[in-house]
Every structure is written in structure tokens, then in C-alpha cells.
């Protein structure tokens, strides 16, 4: 019996009894019945259009990549016109993501440290030595949260099957567990039910999912990069949720004929024979993946002058942005961007490139404002830079 199982079992009232639970879907990989059900092996990763073949929409692609380099940036919200490849791009992301180590078979994708901390903290639990824990490499998980998901599947809940067959209360982890240390993607995020939004806000803020329902009490890490996409014309996003996203990429219909012809051609080629197409781009995909990993490794060495930080703070102040999340996001994103560019020193040049992404959604919302948020940021940025240059 795994340690995780014990943790879950603490909360159960009845004793586990091995029953005819070997269902087709749940691979019973251990002889002893575990209390935490593994999710059905379901994601037969359907072929997705490759990331490197997506034409244009650089803003969205960059924001996703920056979030891979540093997940602490806090995710990205992609809003824009219909049919511009929002969800295609996000779903393509999975293929270029690097690998992470986790405790072998751990449903929460925990690192060894997280695992030990959680499993060994209970009273009476035996100490676990790091060297006893087996690990494995998995690609950074990308979990798709469909609109119709019910709260119990998102947070995890009592394993109904087990309750029915053996009368045992067991915890069945939800999508939040699967998305720990990965990406959680919500298409049409502006149409998500309010109660699910509440849940997400809660978990995103604490990095922990706490389940206290139907007689189950469990907490597990759920730290994910939130990626949302939608079309603003279909409805607005709740301000609290908007604030949660680190970056806000905007995406509009490409009106360049040559580019559109290229999009159409690539798409048709892909539709004709997806596998052959994927083979053709493997090299590009791997190159991108390598560049991302290189940036990740460079990131700890990237530094930033206090002067740049002062300029960032002044920019946020001039724009009247509440709280400090603006500065924080710019700082992190600028570091990641510098690493992506192969630089070890953050300059205002980097900041200029990413300021719009970081701040666009943090400006005070005035539905009647006619000035575009991007323009406003550019203007203030120029002012700050001008001042900086004059002072120098």
C-alpha cells in the first residue's frame, strides 16, 4: 500500500477490503488495493497541430513559452477573435514541454520533497528516506478543464464506484491533482460557471486543494499554470479571475493575405496526413524544446539592476495599478524573457517587450475608455524611459 493511500485512508471510516474492483478502466497496478484510484488511462494523446507550425500570433506563443520557463509568472489569458487558433496553440503546447521528475506513479505529480513532507507529516507515520522513493520523468502535464466539468471531478471526491461496490469511502483525485506542477487549460474561460471559478481562485491563491466534503477530508498540492482562452464578445471575465492571470495576450484575426495563405496551406497539409506532417516538423519541435530547456537553465543566473526595478515600479505607479502584482509579474516575466533571449542581464529593452502582456488587464477597467490599454502602457513606458535617459 502506498503512502498516499494511507493518507487518504486516514479519512475513511470503513476498512478497505479487496473486492472485485479490478475494473477495466482502473489499472490495478499493485496487488494491494490502493485507496486512491488512479485516473483511467484516458488521454490517448490525440494528434495536435504542431506548435512550431502555427503562423503568427507571436504574443500568445511568447506568453506561453515564458510561462514554461518560469511557471511563477502566473499563467496567461488569451482573449481574442474567434477562429484565430487560440485553443489550437494551447493544445499544441504539450508536445514541446520539457520533462519533470515526480515520485513514481504519484497522482499528484509531487517531487520527492513534497511527497515526503506530505506523507511523513501525519502522526505515527514512519519517516521516509529520499533514497527509498522511486522517481520517474514525465512531460509537464497539460490538463484540459472542460466547461461541463462538475465540481467533484475538478476537486476530487468520494470514489463512487468503491462506495457502491464495497461501501468504502475513498478519495478519487480530480483534475486539480492531475494538473499539479503542470498547466491547467480552460477554453472559453469567460463562460465557466461561477462556482468553478470560485474553486479555481481559491486553489490558485493557496496552491493547495482542500477537499472537505461528503465525509472526506484531504489536502494536496495543486500548483498549476492557469491558461485560459476566450472571446470577449461572448462575455466578460470576472475581475477577480482576470487578476489571477499573470499575462494577458490578445489575439486578432490575421489580415495579411500571404500569412493566411500559409496558414491554410499548412493546415491542409496537416489534415491530409497528420502523421507525415508531424514527422516533418519533429526537428523544429525538438529545437524549440531545447531552447526552452536552455532558457530554464539560464534563468537562475539572470540578474536585474535596481535601477530597472525602479523604472518598473514607476511605470506601474504612473499607470495607477493597484497592488504589487503588476511589478512582480513584470519582474518575473522580464527575467524569463531575458533568459529566452539568452541574456543574463534584464534591461528596459526586455521590459518594453513584455510590459503590455503583464499590465494590459491590470489597468483600471473603464468600459467607456476609448484609449486602448496597450497604447496607454506604451505611452507611459516611453515617459519612464525618457525620464531614465534624461537622468542618465
Amino acid at each position: 500500500m502506498t503512502q498516499t493511500a494511507k493518507a487518504a485512508k486516514k479519512t475513511t471510516s470503513a476498512k478497505a477490503s479487496a473486492t472485485k474492483e479490478a475494473k477495466a478502466k482502473a489499472p490495478a497496478e499493485e496487488k494491494v488495493v490502493t485507496e486512491v484510484r488512479k485516473p483511467a488511462a484516458k488521454k490517448k494523446s490525440a494528434l495536435a497541430f504542431p506548435f512550431t507550425s502555427i503562423v503568427g500570433q507571436e504574443e500568445m506563443k511568447l506568453s506561453l513559452i515564458l510561462n514554461i520557463i518560469d511557471p511563477r509568472i502566473g499563467g496567461v489569458l488569451v482573449m481574442g477573435h474567434r477562429g484565430t487558433g487560440k485553443s489550437t496553440t494551447v493544445r499544441a503546447l504539450a508536445e514541446v514541454l520539457p520533462f519533470i521528475p515526480r515520485v513514481k506513479g504519484d497522482i499528484y505529480n509531487r517531487t520527492v520533497e513534497q511527497y515526503i513532507e506530505m506523507e511523513a507529516s501525519g502522526k505515527g507515520a514512519p519517516a521516509i528516506k529520499p533514497e527509498d522513493v522511486k522517481t520517474e520523468l514525465i512531460p509537464v502535464p497539460v490538463v484540459d478543464l472542460p466547461l461541463g466539468a462538475t465540481e467533484d471531478r475538478v476537486c476530487g471526491t468520494i470514489d463512487i464506484e468503491k462506495a457502491l461496490t464495497s461501501g468504502v469511502k475513498a478519495f478519487e483525485p480530480g483534475l486539480l491533482a492531475q494538473s499539479n506542477r503542470g498547466f491547467l487549460y480552460i477554453d472559453e474561460v469567460n463562460l465557466l460557471d461561477d462556482h468553478l471559478v470560485d474553486v479555481l481562485l481559491d486553489v490558485a491563491a493557496s496552491g493547495k486543494n482542500v477537499v472537505e466534503r461528503e465525509g472526506i477530508s484531504i489536502r494536496h498540492p495543486a500548483r498549476f499554470v492557469l491558461v485560459g482562452s476566450g472571446n470577449p464578445e461572448e462575455g466578460e471575465l470576472r475581475p477577480q479571475l482576470l487578476d489571477r492571470f499573470g499575462l494577458h495576450a490578445r489575439i486578432i484575426t490575421i489580415n495579411d493575405v500571404a500569412k493566411r495563405v500559409q496558414i491554410v496551406k499548412l493546415r491542409r497539409e496537416y489534415d491530409e496526413d497528420p502523421e507525415a506532417f508531424m514527422k516533418k516538423v519533429t526537428c523544429d519541435q525538438q529545437k524549440l524544446q531545447k531552447k526552452i530547456v536552455a532558457a530554464q537553465q539560464l534563468l537562475p543566473q539572470v540578474t536585474m539592476d535596481d535601477k530597472v526595478l525602479t523604472d518598473i515600479a514607476r511605470l506601474c505607479m504612473n499607470l495607477g495599478i493597484d497592488g504589487h502584482r503588476g511589478e512582480l509579474t513584470i519582474t518575473r516575466t522580464a527575467h524569463a524573457y531575458a533568459a529566452w533571449e539568452g541574456d543574463t542581464q534584464v534591461t528596459m529593452k526586455h521590459v518594453r517587450e513584455i510590459a503590455g502582456l503583464c499590465l494590459r488587464h491590470r489597468l483600471r477597467k473603464d468600459p467607456l475608455e476609448t484609449v486602448d490599454a496597450g497604447e496607454k502602457i506604451d505611452r507611459e513606458l516611453a515617459k519612464v524611459l525618457g525620464e531614465a535617459e534624461a537622468a542618465a
Partner: protein, 625 residues
């Protein structure tokens, strides 16, 4: 059952369905048409021309979420003690057709699920302990009557073909329909024709890969999409597929002008957001809705200075125009040809059709057990709602030992691990989506002088800002000239309301009665979608001078004052008795006032504000109280 080949008229719709049969990756066909045009008959007959064994699933309008995407089959699960999965309607349509009649009446959560399924070609079920992926690659065939409301753009965007709106069949065609229904046609002929058609489609499917298309042709379609202001890039692919499918259907290996023209007609033109113009013009946003044909002021001052300075230049539009110059002449001509014959009529027809009386089908109290947000569970019968599984199990749990003992005593052998009695069953209670729909009716007639229009816009903006915070829905109706116009159907997009308001043209008469009618219809449509709280915010001087009939009959321009008042009174009474709250914001200058606006407020049983005095906050407060 009437066969596909027997259906007369609606040639374009038939052709569209045939293209879809040839290339299912077109995604689907949407047919907007008026009642009784035979659109549903045609859609159902679509099955005739598909290869045998193709699933054809009709989606009931009142479908519940779990029936739509699938879930646990509760009765079977409880009976067997094993989890039994029930596939939803969407996955049942896999590799076949999903047919929706009255697509515009489908509630928004169902529309979202359909959109999601189309984009993934699968349904992801993450519900009630289930986590599965069911394939759902289907063609969507939808019909609707535009007077019931419009279909959500997000959904239309994922469907390849939209048949241009055809209001009425001509009488000859109708006669023939009657003949068919009366059974005067030979059954054998029909079968032969169908067989031929199926053969044709099969041949075309094989031909599909052999059809080639030149770069110029692809460019031409894309160019057209750009100059029509079609949003998104997805549509390019659909247009190309449609052109190729048509070439294949005609057993050609090269796409020709006819194919291109058809693709423009069926794919691009119905999504146009503007008329293609040779000269770029930043005021184009106003063209999204056609201006009333009659621009002359009726009996008021001409309004030349109509709000020119408020229209913001639209950056996307400007970008689009830049590319226009260097396109091949041939393609442009072709496009103008396709567009000019289709576009003006098409758009005008739709906007006229929506003036007709809409049916309102109230679904009443049942809503509480089926839709909205799950709040709590309560005892009830399995049949009367959705079962709340976990509370049911919990209430059954304590009795297991005694029930098993009892069964044993009675000699009943049961393999069920759990014995659930009727009393244990708990059903879910839902709460309707709260929030109010604010229908703004803005008088844009000539009597709204510029200054007052600005004030009115200011008042509306405060309310919009508030609506944004409270996540209410807003709808915007303007009235000027001959009739009122829905500028923005109920939506949460405050942005759009703001944009529409910014470019609102003024001038012309005051069709107050038409405004009330349009508002009432919008309200009724919203009610069918589960919005219960509705408030009219009327910004007007209350001096209606255009009768209702003017919207339909160009010869009517005036009516006696008593008649006008009667119309308004009748409408106001109906609106009031429908439980719709109202606020009238009077924009009249004091010295001109004859007290029309207060009277209107009285008739509507609503509150009255005099704009020049009223502060925006007061109006907001009144609207929210």
C-alpha cells in the same frame, strides 16, 4: 416521410447539404428560414443522401447537460452495483449528423458544449466521478427561425456553411410541396432519384482528393474574407473546402469560378460584418447593422452633426483595407458579384424578419430541477429531477446492515452491495442564473439634439459599468426613422454595448411603439433562456410619432395622435403585466416638455427621471433597487 429529392425550393440549402455530404469536414450547415418553409423537413431528409448506417441524432431543445455529454447511468448503476456509463447525445452522433431544430433557442450552456465538442471532435466527460473521452466527430445541421433570435457567433464560426436567409418560398414551389404531401408523386421515382443522388455523392467523395486549386484562387477567397470583415482565420479553410467539394460534386478536377462564387455565397458572405467598400472609411462600424433605408428626417430638424466625432477609428478595419490594392481584378469582380447579389437583401431580410412577432415558450417551473447552479439536494423521486448521487448514498449508508438482515429474513438473495430504498433518493435543486437583463432603449431620433445624446450616453455608460461589475446582461436597442433596431442582443459584453453606443447615428422620426415592441420581444426571448429579471431603461423624450406599421409598410409614415397613443398604451400595459420593470429617463428640454415621458413612465408602471437634473448615480441606484 418526405424524401430529399422531393423537396422543392430551397435550392441553396439543398446544395449546401450536398456539399456537406461530400465533405463532412465542412463541419455542418445552418439554415435560417421562416416558419413553414420546410427547413426542418429538408434537414431531416438529409439522412437520405448519406451512406447507409450514418447516425442521425436529433437534439431535443430541452436537453440536460448530462444527457448531452453523457454521465453515469444512475438506474443501471444502482441496479448492478457497477458503474454504468451512458454516452451523451453528442457522442451518439459520432461519424454522423447532429440535427438541431431551432438552433437559436438552445440554451447557452448546451451551445458551449456543442462548440467544445466540435473543436475537440470529442466529448470530455469530467462529471460525477467519471473521467472519460468519447469521440464525437459529427456534422451539425441546424435550422432556426431568425425571429426567435440569433445563434451565437462562436457556434456559427465552427460550422462551415451558413445558407443565406430565404424568407418565403414562392407559391409555385409551395403548390408542389402540397402535391408531394398529398402523395401524387411516384414512390419509385423518388427511390430512383435518391439512389442516383447517393451515387453522385459517393463518386464526389472519391473525387475530392483529386481536385486542385490554384494559389490565386486561395488568395481570392482569403481576400474576400478580409474585405468582408469576417472574423477569424478558420473560415478560410471552410471556404476552400466548400469550393473543392462543389468541384468534386461536378466531377471536375479543378476549381472554377462557379465553385468560388458558391463558396463565397455559402461560407463568407453570411459572416460579413461590413459591406466591401473600395474606399476605406473609419465609420464602417456603423454598417454592421444596415441603416434604415429611409434616412430623411420625418418631421424634425435635420441632424447633420450626428455624432461624427464619437466614432473611434477601428484599427482592425484599417489594417484590412491596406491589403486591398493589389488583388487580381478577376477575383474582385467575382467577389463583388457574389456579394452584391447576396449581401444587401440578406442582411435586410434578417433584420426585418426579427421584427415579426416572436413566439415565447415559457418552460416554467421545471427549470428548477434541471438547470442552473446546483445548490443543494432534497428528497424527491428519481423521475422528477437529477439525482444527487452522493447525498443519496450517504442517506442509504446507515441502513445497510438492517436492510440486509431484513432481506435475509425474507429469504431474498441479493448481490447488490448497497440496498437503496425509495426514501433515500435525493434530487438536486438548482438555482437559476441570477442577474438582471438591462434592455437599453435609446431614442436616436432627430429630436435628440447632440448635447442630450451625450448626456444620455453618459447615463447609459454608468449603468453599463455597473452591469459589468454585477455581471448582469445588457442589450441595446436604438430607435430612429421607421423602426427600432436591436444593436446588441442580450450579452454580457459591455465592450460591445459601448462600441455600438459610440457609433450610434441619430436623426429621423421617433418610432416609440416599435421600440417597445422590439424590447418586449427581446425580453421574451431572454425569458426562454432562463433570465427572469428584466428591466427596460428607456432614454427618450417620449414623443413617439411613427406608427408601428411603418416598419413593414413603406407607405405608412404618419398616424393620428390618438392612434399612436393607443399603440403605445397597449404595448406598455402588456409589458407591465409581463412583470418587466422600467425606468424612463426623460431627455426633453424643459420649455418644450409636454409631459410625454412621465406619461410613458406611468403607463409602463416604471420610474421617471428627468435627465438634465438626474445624476447618473441616481439612475443607477434606481435601476438596482
Amino acid at each position: 416521410m418526405i424524401a430529399f429529392t422531393d423537396i422543392v425550393g430551397m435550392d441553396l440549402a439543398k446544395q449546401a447539404l450536398m456539399l456537406l455530404a461530400v465533405d463532412p469536414s465542412l463541419g455542418g450547415v445552418v439554415i435560417p428560414s421562416t416558419v413553414g418553409s420546410g427547413k426542418s423537413t429538408l434537414a431531416r431528409a438529409f439522412a437520405d443522401i448519406l451512406p447507409e448506417g450514418t447516425p442521425f441524432v436529433e437534439l431535443p431543445l430541452n436537453v440536460t447537460e448530462d444527457r448531452l455529454i453523457g454521465g453515469v447511468d444512475l438506474e443501471a448503476t444502482l441496479a448492478s452495483g457497477q458503474r454504468v456509463v451512458q454516452h451523451g447525445v453528442l457522442s451518439k452522433a459520432h461519424k454522423g449528423v447532429l440535427y438541431v431544430d431551432s438552433l437559436s433557442l438552445l440554451d447557452s450552456s448546451a451551445v458551449s458544449h456543442i462548440m467544445d465538442a466540435i473543436s475537440r471532435r470529442a466529448v470530455i466527460v469530467e462529471r460525477e466521478g467519471l473521467s472519460e473521452v468519447h469521440p464525437a466527430d459529427f456534422m451539425l445541421v441546424g435550422t432556426y427561425d431568425p425571429s426567435d433570435g440569433e445563434v451565437r457567433m462562436g457556434l456559427l464560426d465552427r460550422i462551415g456553411i451558413i445558407v443565406p436567409f430565404t424568407p418565403v418560398n414562392d407559391y409555385r414551389a409551395r403548390k408542389q410541396i402540397v402535391n408531394i404531401v398529398m402523395g401524387t408523386r411516384d414512390e419509385e421515382d423518388t427511390q430512383d432519384e435518391l439512389r442516383m443522388l447517393r451515387g453522385l455523392i459517393e463518386a464526389a467523395r472519391e473525387q475530392l482528393h483529386k481536385v486542385s486549386m490554384t494559389n490565386e484562387q486561395i488568395k481570392g477567397l482569403i481576400q474576400t474574407a478580409i474585405s468582408l470583415g469576417v472574423e477569424g482565420n478558420r473560415v478560410d479553410i471552410f471556404a476552400i473546402r466548400a469550393a473543392i467539394a462543389n468541384a468534386a460534386l461536378n466531377q471536375r478536377t479543378e476549381v472554377d469560378d462557379e465553385d468560388l462564387k458558391l463558396a463565397m455565397k455559402l461560407v463568407l458572405v453570411p459572416r460579413a460584418t461590413r459591406m466591401p467598400e473600395r474606399e476605406p472609411n473609419p465609420e464602417e462600424m456603423a454598417q454592421e447593422e444596415p441603416p434604415p433605408q429611409d434616412e430623411q428626417p420625418q418631421d424634425e430638424q435635420p441632424q447633420d452633426e450626428a455624432e461624427e466625432d464619437n466614432a473611434p477609428p477601428d484599427s482592425t478595419d484599417a489594417d484590412a483595407e491596406e491589403e486591398q490594392k493589389d488583388e487580381p481584378d478577376m477575383i474582385e469582380e467575382l467577389m463583388m458579384d457574389a456579394v452584391e447579389t447576396e449581401l444587401p437583401d440578406n442582411i435586410l431580410n434578417i433584420s426585418l424578419a426579427s421584427k415579426k412577432k416572436a413566439k415565447s415558450g415559457s418552460r416554467g417551473e421545471a427549470l428548477n430541477n434541471k438547470r442552473g447552479r446546483f445548490v443543494r439536494s432534497q428528497p424527491g423521486e428519481i423521475k422528477s429531477g437529477k439525482v444527487a448521487l452522493i447525498p443519496t448514498l450517504i442517506s442509504a449508508a446507515p441502513w445497510q446492515a438492517s436492510r440486509k438482515a431484513e432481506q435475509k429474513k425474507k429469504g431474498i438473495k441479493s448481490t447488490a452491495a448497497l440496498i437503496i430504498a425509495k426514501d433515500d433518493v435525493k434530487i438536486k435543486r438548482f438555482r437559476d442564473k441570477s442577474g438582471t437583463l438591462f434592455i437599453f432603449m435609446v431614442d436616436a431620433s432627430g429630436s435628440m439634439a447632440l448635447n442630450r445624446m451625450r448626456q444620455a450616453k453618459g447615463a447609459v455608460s454608468s449603468l453599463l459599468q455597473n452591469a459589468y461589475v454585477h455581471r448582469d446582461q445588457v442589450s441595446l436597442i436604438s430607435f430612429r426613422g421607421k423602426h427600432a433596431q436591436v444593436l446588441l442582443p442580450p450579452s454580457q459584453s459591455v465592450d460591445r454595448a459601448k462600441r455600438e453606443l459610440d457609433v450610434l447615428p441619430t436623426g429621423g422620426g421617433t418610432p416609440l411603439a416599435s421600440a417597445l415592441l422590439t424590447g418586449w420581444e427581446t425580453a421574451k426571448q431572454a425569458r426562454t433562456k432562463g433570465i427572469t429579471q428584466i428591466m427596460f431603461v428607456m432614454i427618450t423624450d417620449g414623443r413617439g410619432n411613427i406608427p408601428l406599421g411603418a416598419a413593414y409598410d413603406p407607405t405608412i409614415t404618419k398616424a393620428p395622435k390618438e392612434d399612436l397613443e393607443k399603440e403605445i398604451e397597449a404595448l406598455a400595459l402588456s409589458i407591465q403585466s409581463d412583470g418587466i420593470a422600467s425606468i424612463v429617463v426623460d431627455t426633453q428640454m424643459n420649455y418644450l416638455s409636454r409631459g410625454e415621458a412621465p406619461k410613458l413612465a406611468q403607463k409602463l408602471g416604471g420610474r421617471y427621471f428627468y435627465l438634465p437634473n438626474a445624476k447618473a448615480e441616481q439612475i443607477v441606484e434606481a435601476a438596482l433597487s
